[in-house]
Amino acid sequence: MRRTTALLLRHVGGGIPQALADMLVCPLSKKPLRYCDASGSLVSDAVGMSFPIVDGIPCLLPKDGKLLEDHQRESGHETSPRDSSD
């Protein structure tokens, strides 16, 4: 049963395995990240920045983060890797 669940959730969060999504936080604020489907990036709402995922590897270097445009801020439509594990 556990294995099936793991399989289903495997790619929640745009190619990031669940075990990874569960652990990741924003490198600056240490607050949760949410996955943004539209941009395929990880968003830290706490500091208003997004971090890219390149070849399945999240790039969580503060210097590689991009400032969010206004329309990208918490829209409520994104799926959070964290929520979907519940």
Binding site: R2, V25, L28, I57
Partner: protein
Amino acid sequence: MALRAAAARLSSSSLRRRHGHLLPAAATASHAAFLHSHATSFGFKQVREDEKSKLVGNVFSSVASSYDVMNDLMSAGLHRLWKDRLISKLNPFPGMKHLDVAGGTGDVAFRVVERIKSVSHRATQGTLTDMEEDTHIYVCDINPNMLDVGKKRATEKGYNEEQCLSWVQGDAEALSFEDGSMDGYTIAFGIRNVTHIEKALSEAYRVLKKGGRFLCLELSHVDVPVFKDIYDIYSFSVIPAVGELVAGDRQSYQYLVESIRRFPKQEKFAQMIQEAGFEAVEYENLVGGVVAIHSGVKL
């Protein structure tokens, strides 16, 4: 070569007195950045703090593909034994969450996985247990080229990312993992290249659970009289030359040997680990101090 090293040493001390004003980049790059940046070391050179990470990045991008071959050559294969020693000190267990920082090529992570597999297979005679499924090793490296090498090697070894290994590009000084989330933290030949060692140590402390182990394998300081002289000649003459021959990159390996000499001595580093909050801090010298393994526990 010895002359060149001496010259580098001289110029670095004069640069330090002038606080890096002589460095061309400092004059041309943004003045605002310079105002807020302190001088730090890049090998024997003094550079701006924000520049060190860039320079270190260049070194590792440049050596990523030949990194493992060079490690074998430079240490006469000993780095394998040192890493094995690190793992036996870590004593990995099934179900553990482990973070390996600066381990892009996967050398430490693969060993942790192997050890856990062998431990749990002995216990359960080959059946995959729930505990083993919970095992997860996170590899964090600041350099994407090193991570690419590691990911490729993982595929070759038949490791399935979803099962137990994850790769993250991140900074040891600003980790992107939750507080109290890891049972173990290792950093092998990495902390020397970090700009602020104390920030990396406090991040290690933050991500560890109570009872979690911190282990650091690093090239250190030799204090055995004659052996020290031989080691110095080897470091400053042989390594840069081999680096040029094999990796086609003398400067990166010149940086390597200089950065080793700039790293705090064993006792001082142990004290820094204590200051970060760790308890039961101790270290073990291997090969007379060519490398040292420092360890601590978060209580």
